[in-house]
């Protein structure tokens, strides 16, 4: 009797090891890799550290963290399933983003549109590879290069893809400085890359800056009501910032709220990366398609930049087209750095920031339009 009891007690201590599958180990290594990228390589550490840790946690068998009542399940159900976390993050992003550069030159909204082409091409590729329509849309959205948008769409329409698409989106966003320069070099001539763009004069009034979020919300909401939560939250954050009368709320949105939600969002996304679910050929395909989406966005942005170069008689440097992909503000910095590499007198940052802010609005609008088209077709 005592021996049986002893053995059962001992089994309790070894059950974790006994239930460990090879896929759990693979995912622990991937979790470790995400931690390494975040901590040592400074790649999106705010997200990759909690995601990596959550990924390791969820692959420890029998802990039941994602079972009913498990602490990760509670966080996941409260913020991801309800879509609240990405929306709170958007309020913070809106409060942190200065749309001034895109308002200085409203034509840069068009670069933001061109930077979304990859989403739609990738959607077609995903369909060709046999993914069902809603999954294909979710995979295409990786090309929005905008984490909260990806999470919002996946949590609504393809929860089983939440882990891979989120990891793909944030990882590739962090890799923008590595992915974009070769494409920029391949698609532009030295003469184009050396183009100097006219320095900005400050021409946007405070009234225009305050009306921007209100007008965009109303017009965008009327065109694509299904994406209004995304658009409204980012614009609310921006209105708070530009109005200047709710400093406490603005600070809370860009600091405390954004920080707390980022932590909870990261760890609950990591919790979706359970070995038996994640280690599949499909995940690899999603990662490849996501990479392709962001590269195609860059290609289309630069090609549109080249069109503007031709139309304006060489006044627009096509490199700023690469910043139309969102990934704010990293893509703008890459355009500035690459421009300076070929012409020390070239200062593209403010122009690229315009395209980048246009891309931020463009990615949200692309998702909003897609959701509304899906609704119109009766798919959702």
């Amino acid at each position: 009797m005592f021996v049986d009891s002893l053995l059962n007690g001992f089994n309790g201590l070894t059950a974790g090891f006994a239930n460990l599958q090879w896929s759990h180990l693979v995912m622990m290594v991937i979790g470790g890799l995400l931690l390494y990228l975040g901590i040592k390589k400074d790649c999106e550490p705010l997200l990759l550290v909690p995601i990596g840790f959550g990924c390791i946690l969820i692959n420890i068998p029998l802990a039941g963290l994602m079972d009913q009542g498990g602490f990760l399940r509670i966080i996941y159900d409260a913020g991801v399933i309800t879509e609240l976390f990405p929306l709170f993050i958007f309020v913070g992003i809106g409060a942190m983003t200065d749309f001034g550069p895109v308002l200085e030159n409203p034509y840069t909204f068009l670069l933001g549109a061109a930077g979304q082409f990859g989403i739609f091409i990738t959607l077609l590729l995903a369909l060709a590879l046999g993914f069902p329509p809603k999954d294909a849309v979710t995979i295409g959205i990786i090309g929005a290069c905008d984490g909260p948008t990806v999470i919002y769409v996946a949590s609504q329409y393809a929860q089983h893809l939440l882990g891979p698409v989120t990891v793909a989106a944030y990882s590739y966003m962090a890799l923008v400085p590595v992915l974009q320069p070769p494409i920029m070099k391949m698609l532009t001539s030295t003469k184009e890359r050396q183009t100097i763009m006219k320095t900005h004069q400050k021409t946007v009034s405070k009234t225009t800056k305050m009306l921007f979020p209100i007008v965009i919300t109303v017009i965008g909401g009327l065109i694509a009501p299904m994406g209004l939560p995304l658009l409204a939250t980012i614009m609310l954050g921006n209105l708070m910032k530009e109005s200047g009368v709710v400093g406490r709320l603005t600070k809370a949105a860009e600091n405390e709220i954004a920080n707390i939600v980022t932590l909870l969002l990261g760890i609950s996304i990591g919790a979706t990366m359970s070995g038996p679910v994640f280690v599949q050929t499909q995940t690899l395909l999603i990662l490849i398609l996501g990479l392709l989406a962001i590269c195609l966005d860059t290609v289309c942005g630069i090609l549109f930049g080249k069109v503007l170069y031709l139309v304006t008689g060489g006044k627009v440097n096509p490199l700023i087209g690469a910043a139309g992909i969102s990934a704010f503000p990293m893509a703008a910095r890459v355009a500035q750095k690459e421009g300076q590499k070929y012409n020390k007198k070239s200062f593209l940052l403010m122009h690229a920031m315009g395209a980048n802010a246009g891309g931020q609005v463009g990615s949200v609008m692309a998702a909003a339009v897609m959701l509304s088209v899906l609704k119109g077709m009766g798919v959702i």
Binding site: V102, Y107, L110, T208, I219, I223, V361, V379
Partner: protein, 44 residues
């Protein structure tokens, strides 16, 4: 609906809708800049 009709609808209406929306945004913001021009006093 077959998947190619779905895909092409998404590309044409989705991408077209996104471009049109951003063109509209661009025009509206240009108009707003004209209606509410920047004045130097705003810096003070």
């Amino acid at each position: 609906m077959d998947k190619w009709s779905f895909g092409m609808t998404m590309v044409v209406v989705g991408m077209g809708g996104t471009i049109c929306t951003l063109v509209i945004f661009s025009l509206i913001m240009s108009a707003l800049k004209k209606v509410f021009p920047y004045k130097k006093e705003e810096d003070q």
